[in-house]
């Protein structure tokens, strides 16, 4: 029996904290679906917002967009493979997904490079051409072989209800993969992102950093895929970071604040989705809720910042 069933927004938190205390005291607890969702989404939030900081500072967030489309192709490949080898399989096995994503990523990078270097095509157009073509190809192949195309919806929006405790493990791994190098090599990451030329002249390798960052983004995308689908994780990459930038001037606090904002919005969204289910009896897309929450939070931050700025200005003038 799910202890969150029938609870509203605030009761959700009460239940959550009481179960947390029970767990801290050492008593065993089996995770229920709400908690699995919360944990996975929190993992996504942490992994994505931390990596998002560097993507935004390097101004390459649209690369993450193309990577996410590529992942879509990888999903299609994985689906094809799963379907053809395992037949009635509703869930796409993560391992196959990883392989599919890897192949798709390699393909995309290769083709895009070829277009920009040999054909001298501008970068934005070649990215757009490659991923839409590969994706269209994927959809056609799936239709040819499986005679259905319902993978599309789940790939795009995720399905929090289908989440599994194993997904938590995956997401935790991704978090570690993203955060540990960042913590260990913080000043090197900062130097490379701020001034690549100086960093390279000092013996560091900005290109290695870039590739590692891309791998981290890909890993985050795969880790988020089942929970929020392929596009919405982009909101986790950008929204919290842009909101955090309004309030801080240090890179380290930017990372922490982004993670904090992302977690906050995740908590609210999961609680709210339970609330709506209890009082209105319909299930809203939790992923959609988090993204909307992130959007509202950013909007409010912008408004608040403007008010704060004008108040501050008024204060100095009156002196």
């Amino acid at each position: 029996m799910n202890p969150y069933w029938g609870k509203g927004f605030f009761d959700f938190f009460l239940t959550l904290f009481s179960r947390l205390f029970i767990w801290i005291r050492g008593e065993p607890i089996t995770l229920v679906s709400d908690e699995v969702q919360l944990l996975v989404l929190s993992g996504v939030a942490i992994a994505a917002s931390s990596v998002g900081v560097f993507l935004i500072l390097k101004r390459i967030t649209m690369l993450a967009n193309s990577l996410s489309h590529t992942l879509l192709l990888g999903v299609v490949l994985a689906y094809l493979f799963t379907f053809s080898t395992l037949h009635e399989s509703r869930f796409i096995d993560v391992k196959i997904l990883l392989v599919g994503a890897l192949i798709a990523a390699l393909l995309t990078t290769l083709l895009t490079q070829m277009l920009t270097h040999f054909m001298k095509l501008q970068e934005d157009a070649s990215i757009g051409l490659v991923f839409t073509t590969l994706f269209a190809l994927g959809v056609v192949l799936v239709t040819l072989f499986t005679r259905s195309s319902h993978i599309g919806a789940e790939a795009i929006m995720g399905n929090v209800d289908a989440l599994h405790p194993d997904d938590i493990k995956l997401v935790v791994l991704v978090c570690l993969f993203n955060l540990v190098p960042m913590a260990l090599f913080f000043k090197e990451c900062r130097m490379i992102t701020f001034d690549a030329g100086f960093a390279k002249a000092s013996g560091l390798s900005p290109s290695l950093f870039h590739y590692l960052l891309m791998v981290q983004v890909a890993a985050t995308a795969i880790g988020s895929f089942r929970a929020v689908g392929v596009f919405l994780f982009l909101a986790f990459l950008t929204g919290p970071v842009l909101a955090a930038r309004l309030w801080t001037q240090h890179l380290s606090s930017l990372i922490f604040l982004s993670i904090g904002i992302a977690l906050f919005n995740t908590l609210i969204a999961v609680a709210f989705s339970r609330h709506v289910l209890t009082y209105f009896q319909y299930p809203l897309s939790t992923a959609g809720l988090v993204v909307t929450s992130i959007g509202l939070f950013y909007f409010l931050s912008l408004v608040l910042k403007k008010i704060w700025k004008s108040k501050f200005k008024n204060a100095t003038i009156s002196l």
Partner: protein, 261 residues
């Protein structure tokens, strides 16, 4: 520690040829920069001056040629070389303080995982004092003016305690007071036997500031003391039609090679 100021040649370039993007090319550059001089790299826009700096630092790969710093390769000499990039190459909205940018100059002394020690912090404070940026120490870099940004870059370079300083247009867009302040810092460095190589854009100040000049326009026009080399005839060759020819020809070569013509 080896005294590099005794070694006669700071930078030696042999047959350096670079293909870079669509236009700027460096072609068969061969010259030397003596130790202890303040050297100006002069040439028109697109002549390859920035490309030259980036190539000898290893940021760009040359098609052919060799570079030596004090007789050794750049890999061995990295800790003795300080690079001051163009101000425009950096995002000045980056969330970082003046202090932390300067601190980057001490990274060669700091290990990979370690944090800054008290000695590092002291050194940064001293250098910031030297360039007159102490009141800005904890400010975000987007609050700095152009001249202050340049001083910050110089501060970072000074902390590297190098033997040769390579700077890309350090006086561009900088106020007169800053320029004077920087020149006095550079003079001090020279007195310590350091070598300075600056990509410079203002022809009128060359003879006042520098004691070695390299005239560049894709190919080498001349290299030597200002009095000998900085002649109207050489300037004509640097900025005149004759070197445009090399530019046009190199474009032609590139198009032929990729089959576009």
């Amino acid at each position: 520690m080896r005294d590099l100021s005794a070694f006669p040649v700071a930078v030696k370039v042999e047959h350096l040829t670079v293909n870079y993007e669509k236009t700027s090319v460096l072609w068969e550059l061969s010259f030397e920069i003596p130790t202890g001089t303040m050297c100006a790299i002069i040439g028109p826009n697109g002549a390859g001056k920035s490309t030259f700096l980036k190539t000898i630092l290893g940021l760009l790969k040359p098609l052919s040629g060799k570079v030596e710093f004090f007789g050794k390769s750049i890999k061995e000499m990295r800790s003795k070389i300080a690079y001051v990039p163009q101000r425009a190459s950096v995002d000045w909205d980056f969330p970082i303080t003046v202090f932390d940018v300067a601190l980057m100059g001490r990274f060669h002394k700091m290990k990979l995982f370690k944090r800054a020690k008290a000695a590092d912090r002291e050194a940064v404070k001293r250098v910031l004092e030297m360039v007159g940026l102490t009141p800005f120490s904890d400010r975000q870099i987007n609050q700095l003016s152009g001249g202050q940004q340049q001083r910050l870059f110089i501060a970072r370079a000074l902390l590297q305690e190098a033997d040769i300083y390579l700077m890309d247009e350090p006086f561009a867009g900088v106020d007169v007071a800053t320029e004077k302040a920087l020149i006095s810092i550079f003079d001090q460095l020279k007195m310590q036997g350091k070598t300075l190589v600056l990509v410079h854009h203002d022809l009128s100040s060359v003879e006042d500031y520098f004691d070695w000049v390299v005239l560049l326009n894709i190919g080498l026009i001349a290299s030597g003391k200002p009095a000998e080399v900085f002649t109207p005839e050489a300037l004509m060759r640097t900025y005149g039609r004759s070197s445009h020819l090399l530019d046009e020809v190199s474009k032609l070569v590139k198009h032929k090679a990729s089959g576009l013509l």
